[in-house]
């Protein structure tokens, strides 16, 4: 199972706060998350490391897609 969490405007764009997906093999994140994201407006984290929508993900990974922010 891959846990994917969406935060802020990305959750609104996706229409959900996240999704869980069971994979038979590694796939590119963009094959599961179909969203148009500009790189300088969003952050993709895979197991707390920087990734992209082109990164390969596998069962057990934790993914977060979140907006870029600059502090309250």
């Amino acid at each position: 199972m891959v846990e994917i969490k969406f935060i802020g405007f990305i959750a609104e764009k996706m229409g959900a706060p996240g999704m869980n997906v069971s994979l038979k093999q590694s796939v590119k994140l963009k094959d599961i998350v179909e969203v148009d994201l500009s790189k300088d407006r969003s952050i993709v984290l895979i197991n707390h490391k920087r990734g992209t929508l082109d990164s390969l993900i596998k069962n057990g990974d934790k993914v977060m897609i979140m907006p870029v922010v600059s502090g309250g």
Binding site: F9, K13, H48, V69, S70, G72
Partner: protein, 605 residues
């Protein structure tokens, strides 16, 4: 020069003297506005004085874009020698007062001396009066705002202190419009020490503009661009409250006095929960992306929320009820207390109670206990006496190992990001020029993809952000939030400045300006602190010694020797020596030769 009102107004409360003077072109060229004007004035005029004495001054400084028809141009910088830290202190505020000050004909107001009786200042163009404030003294900032509005009209800008400032709480702030705050560094206590309750501003003059047609056109285009951004909708619904979910997700949310980075009740206090109890919005003049979220709090009052307030008075105290955290937020605003410092001081007392270091019984999450303590802090009684001067002094009083978890740098309480797993942000806090605050540099969004590394790129990023956020935006005195939160490009600002003033500013000019501010603010700290040393740039031991015990980053803490290495790189890149003191050649290169000479005369360089 167009874009400026052209004058500095000085009001001396000791002798009633009022003077107006042109701002020289040289001052505008070297310091541009806002923070630049403020630090230059404090460097020249406030030397070696007790911050709560007659010799301290408060500088209210606008910038060349303040009050002009461009986005988020309703801010000003307010600076003073801080009674909380003993060093350079400033805070910015978005308020109608900024626009009125400039329209009254003044870029800068300097308040000097000390009144013998409670007073307030009334400034309406050329009419400047020091008026009696006996009837206002003792009143909270909401009631006093109402009285002053009834007396002088709603079309005014009002800055005022509450009972906390009157009574000298070292983290008392300055409030405007029932919830807007120049929150940090204890400006309220300095106003209180001068017996100055409020400043009421009313300006009716036009601000000269270099190319008015162009400025209006580019401003209109800019406002439209802001509204078109994909996250505009959620931003205007939640403001910075959207940060709670974000910070909790990456283990950066201050929780139980910065012990942890995640909070089990985070969802109950986040932006989505705020939307459910929201009753309105507040914001700065000239902003079409207003971010102040007003809610009905647990006691039926109206509170203006943001991320810092609700985490410091919520998760950091173990309070998981948004209405309760909001009520503490409103109480702080009414008393005129900085919400960030207050949250840290209350958490310090909770931890001290837990460890049996004080008699007061106070449990995490104790809302009523917090309310009682806030009143005790303002009145300097009971356990409130312990933290009346902030957590640094409180830890010196309690002794033991309490300094390890007195969450401050340079005497100022850390704002709302815990850094056990964010070394770049820890450096940003360590080197922030007013004490630990995120205003000048915020690294988490940039470093979380490689968060446990300590490298030169992070140090360079801290400096780059300090130049833009701490230099450029603080000089223009415009809001920085539109840039990153909404993706409003940095390339807009030189266009605004050109149309407003005729000045051309290249990225190199912006870097130099920021570096000049940083060198001068640092020189101020060094000159005013006999015990200056690099340890003043190091965060508290908790982040190094106490790893997270919860969350996905359980077991993580900062590495002290690697932090020291980053700090040394920082000094090297800034041209400062190993103690963080700007080198002579650095100051000279930044056209601060006089500063270099003064530091040398004082044996500091």
């Amino acid at each position: 020069m167009a874009g400026y009102a052209g004058n500095i107004l000085r009001v001396n409360l000791s002798n009633g003297q009022i003077t107006k003077k042109d701002i020289s072109d040289q001052m505008k060229d070297k310091f541009l506005g806002g923070r630049g004007f403020a630090v230059k004035i404090l460097w020249d005029e406030v030397k070696g004085v007790d911050p709560l004495s007659e010799g301290n001054k408060i500088v209210f400084a606008t910038g060349p874009l303040t009050g002009l028809p461009v986005p988020s141009s309703g801010k000003m910088v307010i600076a003073t020698k801080s009674p909380l830290t003993g060093g350079y202190g400033d805070s910015n505020i978005g308020s109608r007062a900024s626009v009125h000050l400039k329209k009254a004909g003044y870029d800068v107001l300097v308040v000097e001396g000390c009144s013998r009786h409670p007073c307030y200042l009334y400034i309406e163009d050329d009419k400047i009066q020091i008026l009696d404030a006996k009837d206002l003294w003792g009143k909270d900032t909401f009631k006093a705002q109402d009285i002053l509005e009834q007396r002088h009209g709603k079309n005014t800008g009002i800055l005022l202190i509450g009972p906390a400032g009157e009574k000298g709480v070292r983290f008392a702030n300055l409030i405007s419009q029932k919830g807007r705050a120049a929150g940090r560094v204890g400006i309220g206590a300095v106003m209180g020490s001068k017996n100055l309750k409020a400043i009421v501003l009313k300006g009716s003059r036009e601000i000269p503009i270099f190319d008015e047609k162009k400025l209006k056109a580019v401003g209109k285009e800019a406002w439209a661009d802001i509204k078109s951004k994909e996250n505009y909708d959620i931003w205007t619904r939640q403001g910075t409250m959207m940060m709670i979910e974000w910070a909790d997700s990456i283990s950066a949310m201050p929780t139980y006095n910065f012990r942890e980075g995640t909070f089990k009740f985070a969802k109950q206090i986040d932006g989505h929960s705020a939307e459910k109890i929201k009753i309105g919005r507040q914001g700065c003049p000239h902003c079409n992306a207003r971010c102040g979220i007003v809610v009905r709090d647990a006691e039926g009052g109206n509170a203006e929320l943001d991320y810092e307030n609700i985490t410091m008075l919520g998760s950091n105290l173990g309070i998981g009820d948004l209405g309760e955290a909001a009520a503490l937020n409103r109480l702080a605003d009414e008393y005129g207390l900085d919400t960030i410092s207050l949250g840290s001081n209350l958490a310090f007392l909770m931890e001290a109670s837990e460890k049996g270091l004080i008699d007061e019984k106070l449990k995490w999450g104790d809302f009523n206990g917090c309310k009682r303590l806030i009143a005790d802090i303002v009145n300097n009684r009971g356990a409130g006496q312990i933290v009346y001067k902030g957590v640094k002094k409180a830890s010196e009083r309690l002794g033991s190992e309490s300094k390890d978890w007195a969450m401050q740098v340079k005497g100022m309480e850390i704002s709302a990001y815990t850094c056990q797993a964010l070394p770049g942000m820890a450096l940003a806090y360590g080197t922030s020029p007013i004490g630990a605050h995120h205003k000048d540099a915020f690294l988490p969004a940039w470093e979380i993809g490689d968060r446990l590394s300590y490298n030169k790129e992070k140090v360079q990023k801290v400096i780059e952000l300090q130049r833009y956020r701490g230099g450029w935006f603080e000089a223009l005195t415009v809001c920085r939030l539109l840039w990153v939160e909404l993706g409003f490009g940095l390339d807009w600002y030189p266009k605004f400045l050109k149309a407003a003033t005729g000045l051309d500013f290249s990225p190199e000019n912006i870097d130099e300006l920021g570096d000049r501010f940083y060198a001068l603010m640092r020189a101020y700290w060094v000159r005013e602190n006999d015990n200056w040393g690099r340890e003043m740039d190091i965060p508290p031991s908790r982040w190094f010694l106490e790893p997270f015990t919860q969350g996905e980053l359980k077991g993580t803490s900062l590495d002290k020797s690697k932090y020291e290495q980053m700090l040394s790189w920082y000094y090297e890149l800034r041209g400062w020596d190993e103690n963080g003191v700007p080198r002579m050649e650095t100051l000279e290169k930044l056209k601060l030769k006089d500063v270099a000479e003064e530091l040398k005369q004082n044996g500091r360089n």
